[in-house]
């Protein structure tokens, strides 16, 4: 109990006495965790959008023009009975034309010139959420193929490309995050080294009166943890501020509406993980500085 009290007293006293240097360390950690937080926010929103697309997987199977209507409805029944299918709806050539004209009124003259049956009839298929993974979807589409169809479109290529892009982004994020973390540890270690150096005399005296390395180091590690938590909490506030002041307004100004939903702030669990990251950076930085310094003092 007494040791804990000494630890808290020494930690907070040192944090206060070296307020400027501690603020610099906390600032470095804040910048590092803010960058990581911004990256995580981008990834979080991109993943949400992709999740939404996955949930709304929509397949269009286009008929050959010469397929009789009764065969078309027979195929519609077969497909509708499949367990993976949530809904299957027949769209005739006429329905397709009306739909397109409704969406793009200017296209009517072009369609009239090209003829009534320029747009093929199709079956529009909605898939149960459990079968929307890329592999399940590929298997499903293979099962849908029939000679009566000219083409089955489910945007696979585009989704796969986007997923590859996301994977690359994640890899880039990991590399950048790693570099940011190393730079932060280095900067924090050097800043805390200054704090430690400013207390060189005190450490020397503590050594002389029989303090162990652990006894000397623990308050510095606690100080590093405090800096990390303070820096990361500031970064959390920064993320909230950036989201509410910048991203939301930017989204409104540019009328961006990807997947019909606003860009969201990083969830609290991820923000807490950021605080953990900040604390770890602070402790690692302190540990580096103190161990280096303890080797120098006899």
């Amino acid at each position: 109990m007494s040791k804990m009290r000494h630890l808290f007293r020494r930690t907070f006293r040192s944090a206060w006495e070296n307020f400027y240097l501690n603020s610099v360390s906390a600032g470095v950690i804040c910048a590092a965790t803010l960058l990581v937080g911004l990256f995580l926010t981008v990834m979080f929103n991109l993943n949400r959008i992709v999740d939404t697309w996955d949930r709304d997987v929509h397949i269009s199977a286009y008929f050959e023009h010469d397929v009789p209507v009764d065969v078309r409805f027979q195929i519609l029944e077969e497909i509708g009975a499949m367990t993976e299918i949530a809904q299957a709806r027949y769209v005739s050539e006429e329905d397709a034309r009306l739909y397109l004209e409704e969406r793009i009124p200017d296209v009517r003259p072009v369609l009239e010139e090209l003829g009534a049956e320029v747009l093929p009839a199709s079956i529009e298929i909605a898939v149960h959420e459990a079968y929307t993974s890329p592999t399940a979807l590929t298997n499903l589409v293979e099962g849908l193929y029939r000679p009566e169809f000219t083409d089955i479109d489910y945007g696979r290529e585009w989704v796969e490309r986007f997923n590859t892009f996301l994977s690359l982004l994640q890899l880039l994020g990991l590399i950048l995050g790693g570099l940011i973390a190393i730079a932060a540890v280095f900067l924090v270690a050097n800043t805390i080294h200054l704090v430690v150096y400013s207390r060189r005399d005190e450490i020397e005296v503590m050594r002389l009166v029989g303090a162990t390395d652990t006894h000397i180091a623990i308050p510095f590690l606690a100080e590093g943890a405090l800096q990390g938590i303070a820096g990361a909490l500031l970064a959390w506030l920064g993320l909230i501020g950036l989201h509410s002041l910048l991203i939301v307004r930017l989204q409104e100004a540019l009328m961006i509406s990807i997947a019909d939903q606003p860009l969201q702030a990083l969830p609290p669990q991820e923000c807490l993980a950021l605080v953990g990251l900040g604390m770890t950076l602070g402790i690692l930085g302190s540990a580096g500085a103190v161990s280096r310094f303890l080797r120098e003092v006899p």
Binding site: M206, L208, V209, G210
Partner: protein, 217 residues
């Protein structure tokens, strides 16, 4: 209590101590003396583990500290009180806090720390000065705070390296009188000094060093 056998210490080509052998009994008071550069401070550093000898054996209380693992050195120092010429007080800490440092590293309870700090400050003539900062004290008073810090955990050995070097005559006498009183309580005191007037005033056995060699015991 303290025995050195053929102890040598080199710093590169410079030999600070050369084949020094001596024994200091439990409860003894003796001076380590000699001109500047004779090896007095090096001998002291070997005794409190700040330096390791190049060769030889340094026995303290039956333990050879020449090969003592680094992590054991704090335990060795907890049984020693060490005083320096420059006091080594923390200017931002009060007198009481400076003295308490020696007890805090032992994990003593705060009430025990407060009680023992008050008692030892009374012993060195600084009763009621717990809350003062070192800068508000005279040189002699600051050295007495350093002595109090060295004594507060009742060490078996007291090492004082030129403790009167920064003090005028009267203040130096005050500090030596405190160290003599400590010796009377049964503590082994080793005092490095080249102040012959003090040694004449307070006679005690002398370990005389010259150019790193033992000239006389």
């Amino acid at each position: 209590m303290i025995s050195l056998y053929e102890v040598s210490k080199r710093y590169g080509d410079h030999i600070a101590l050369h084949d020094v052998s001596l024994t200091i009994g439990k409860g003894d008071f003796c001076y380590v003396t000699g001109p500047s550069g004779a090896g007095k401070s090096t001998l002291m550093k070997l005794l409190y583990g700040a330096e390791r000898c190049t060769s030889g054996t340094v026995m303290i209380g039956g333990t050879n500290i020449a090969n003592l693992p680094r992590r054991q050195i704090p335990l060795l120092r907890r049984n020693m009180g060490i005083v320096f010429q420059d006091f080594k007080l923390i200017p931002s800490r009060t007198v009481g806090e400076n003295v308490a440092m020696a007890l805090e590293v032992l994990g003593a309870e705060q009430s025990d720390i407060d009680r023992r700090v008050r008692a030892i400050l009374g012993t060195v003539g600084l009763k009621g000065r717990e809350r003062d900062l070192p800068a508000t004290l005279s040189g002699g008073e600051q050295q007495r705070v350093a002595v109090a810090r060295a004594l507060v955990n009742d060490p078996a050995i007291m090492l004082a390296d030129e403790p009167t070097g920064n003090l005028d005559g009267a203040m130096a006498i005050e500090v030596i009188e405190i160290l003599r009183a400590v010796h009377v309580r049964g503590t082994t005191v080793l005092l490095a000094t080249h102040d012959t007037a003090l040694m004449d005033r307070f006679p005690a056995p002398q370990i005389r060093l010259r150019s790193g060699r033992l000239a006389r015991v």
